[in-house]
């Protein structure tokens, strides 16, 4: 068969025939290649999306039930002979009264035919003993005149009752293999019929700090702690990061030292985050003597973590501003500093802000360094300031995921949902801010 080179230059008709023939044949394999590439692309996207869908489905599927909880509405008789046998109305003394006994009597009164000690114990186990006694104690402490009266309290059921009613405990299993006895199941059924047990929105999850009892545990302490950490990390990392980037890009002399610094900042982004935790432990806690477990230290440690991200984002944004604007300012007699701060930085600001918010989203999800500085502690109070012991949302998730009871796993998933929602909101904010600021250009 003739090849291209065989054909004389002036034999244009044959040449174009041959071209047509070969190009057509080649076209088919070209089209096939392109089609295969598109197919791969779609398959990859489909795979990623289904992985994401699976993740969301499994987390939301496990977690959404935690947003509701079963509560008992009890009429508690505040028997004076039990709470204050000596007739005192001193709130301090009333604190130590036997509220458990009051609660026990209330429960026993619901089923007067229960007399056996063991049975009584099982019956009492239906309520969240520590949560309910705490609630009654607080009521009496605030208003001692309630003693002798009957008050209505709404207290969570025990986590086992809650799990049973949510269908997580298999009733068909033999009694010995489940944590709720047949007798208890009967009682629960009766209480539900009588309207004493009702499912409600789980406000405890959002308003209370951590607790040993799952039915009393909430993420409020962790969310507040995380917010403090993010704000502190932002306040430290943004000025330092933007300042370093500006200096390195605009003002620093270009020599071996600045090259070295640049390489090291870029490498910093790749340092495992737990190393930052160790650094924070050494500097802030051991050397500077700050307390463990406080958001201030957490924020400063994570500011180190966010620093390289912000530097890289700032430098990229600064470089994306064309030289025209700076030259324009310089040609009018602006000094270099004026041109950078008055013209270049405002143009780079959307990119810097977006990068910083993404860095803050990273900070919000960071767990390992916080473990190193003791933010893994069991904290049962919502922190009031950045100097109070606190935990953080991802650490809380880590702590809860380690607990055995079924009730913890739904709360773990619920906390993850909240964390993801906050992250989505932060990323949305970054996109919104960027679009808004860029429109002004």
């Amino acid at each position: 068969m003739a090849t291209h080179s065989d054909i004389e230059e002036n034999d244009t008709k044959r040449a174009s025939q041959l071209r047509e023939e070969r190009a057509r044949k080649h076209l088919k394999s070209r089209r096939n290649r392109e089609w295969r590439f598109r197919l791969w692309g779609r398959a990859a996207i489909l795979f990623a999306l289904s992985a994401l869908a699976w993740l969301l489905f499994s987390i939301v599927g496990t977690g959404f039930t935690a947003f509701q909880q079963n509560f008992m509405t009890l009429d508690v008789k505040l028997e004076a002979s039990i709470i204050a046998p000596d007739g005192t109305r001193d709130p301090q003394k009333l604190r130590g009264a036997n509220y458990r006994r009051v609660l026990q009597d209330t429960m026993y009164d619901l089923f007067p035919d229960v007399t056996e000690r063991l049975e009584k114990r099982e019956l009492f186990a239906l309520t969240s003993a520590s949560g309910a006694t705490h609630q009654i104690r607080q009521m009496v402490y605030k208003n001692p005149s309630l003693i002798g009266q009957t008050v209505t309290v709404t207290v969570p059921t025990s986590d086992q009752v809650d799990q049973l009613l949510k269908g997580y405990i298999d009733r068909t299993q033999p009694e010995s293999r489940r944590k709720v006895s047949d007798q208890q199941i009967t009682w629960i059924g009766t209480l539900k019929e009588r309207g004493i047990i009702k499912k409600k929105f789980n406000t405890i999850l959002f308003t209370k700090p951590d607790s040993r009892d799952p039915e009393l545990a909430g993420i409020a302490g962790a969310v507040v702690g995380s917010m403090m950490i993010v704000v502190i990390a932002f306040l430290f990392a943004l000025p330092i990061g933007v300042g370093s980037a500006l200096y390195l890009d605009e003002f620093a002399p270009k020599n071996r030292w600045t090259d070295l610094i640049e390489i090291n900042i870029n490498n910093l982004a790749a340092v495992p985050s737990i190393v930052f935790g160790l650094l924070g432990l050494a500097i802030f806690i051991n050397f500077m003597g700050l307390h463990r477990s406080i958001p201030l230290v957490g924020g400063m440690v994570l500011a180190l973590r966010a620093f390289p991200t912000i530097v890289v984002a700032t430098r990229a944004s600064l470089r994306s501003v064309g030289p025209g604007i700076v030259n324009g300012a310089l040609s009018l007699g602006a000094s270099h500093t004026q041109a950078v701060f008055q013209q270049k930085l405002p143009l780079a600001a959307p990119g810097i802000l977006t990068g910083s918010i993404i860095a803050m989203a990273q900070v919000l999800g960071e767990t390992a360094p916080l473990l190193m500085i003791g933010m893994v502690a069991f904290v049962t109070e919502v922190p009031q300031s950045a100097m109070d012991p606190s935990t953080a949302l991802p650490v809380q998730i880590f702590l809860w995921s380690d607990s055995a009871e079924r009730a913890w796993s739904e709360r773990t998933a619920a906390a993850i949902i909240v964390l993801l929602l906050i992250l989505v909101v932060m990323n949305g904010l970054a996109i919104w801010l960027r679009n808004r600021l860029e429109k002004r250009r």
């Binding site: 025209g324 604007i325 030259n327 324009g328 300012a329 040609s331 009018l332 007699g333 013209q343 250009r441």
Partner: protein
């Protein structure tokens, strides 16, 4: 060419980028009023030379200027001279319109503001209006001074940049291919504006368009490979060039 009372006197001006010498010793005198055009093929050094007049080469890493450039008898590369003050005297218009991403008003007011030229808003308002009028833009933008300068058309943007330069009240305006990004109509407006401005300012324009140089300039300098080949009245350059390389370039045989 003999120039009376030149604005700039340049002797043996050389510019190095690192080890590369981009300009090999330029001697030229630029008159105080009127338009001087620099022409020549790409890479001949005409833009580099233009940027020596307001020391914009200082901002380029590795660029070094040697030789003498006197402006009104004063060496502009004198160590005691602050380039910031020099650039208030020598304005510049770039190839690509580069208004700041701010309002039209703020664009014009930026220069006077950084130099502290006005006191009070009324004075600034008057200066902005005067500058926009001189740049022939006032009638088009007087009702939208607060809208962004980047929203104007290319030709309007270029005139806004000229107004911005005029606002500092410079003595010289450097123009680096100011019409290369404009359509023919906007170019014609710009050239008409240059004709008006040359009464007041010393204008040096770098252009790729020989027709433009012929239309707007009084004197023309032809650069080739980092050297000034020929410098004369524009009419002479385009009708009766003294050097064969100039001849080849303007007739389209090189470049």
């Amino acid at each position: 060419m003999d120039i009376k009372n030149p604005k700039f006197v340049c002797r043996d001006v050389r510019v190095h980028y690192g080890d590369l010498e981009a300009l090999h010793g330029i001697d030229i005198d630029i008159p105080d009023r009127g338009v001087t055009a620099f022409i020549g093929p790409s890479g001949c050094g005409k833009s580099t030379f233009l940027r020596t007049f307001n020391r914009m080469n200082d901002t380029i890493d590795g660029a070094k200027v040697s030789g003498l450039i006197n402006m009104d008898g004063q060496d502009i590369y004198d160590k005691n001279l602050d380039p910031v003050l020099l650039r208030a005297r020598v304005g510049m218009v770039f190839q690509k319109p580069n208004p700041f991403p701010k309002s039209i008003y703020d664009n014009v007011a930026y220069g006077p503001k950084i130099h502290g030229l006005t006191s009070g808003k009324a004075e600034m308002d008057a200066l902005v209006e005067k500058s926009l009028r001189r740049a022939g833009l006032w009638e088009e933008v007087k009702d939208r001074l607060k809208s962004p300068g980047t929203g104007l058309s290319g030709g309007q943007q270029q005139r806004l940049v000229i107004a911005r330069a005029i606002a500092v009240n410079p003595e010289v305006i450097l123009m680096d291919e100011p019409a290369s990004a404009l359509d023919p109509i906007a170019t014609a407006r710009l050239e008409a504006l240059i004709q008006e401005l040359k009464e007041r300012y010393c204008i040096i324009i770098v252009t790729h368009s020989m027709a433009q140089a012929a239309r707007v300039s009084d004197n023309t300098a032809f650069f080739y490979m980092g050297e000034l080949i020929e410098y004369d009245a524009t009419e002479k350059i385009f009708t009766n060039p003294g050097d064969s390389r100039t001849q080849d370039y303007i007739t389209g045989r090189t470049g």
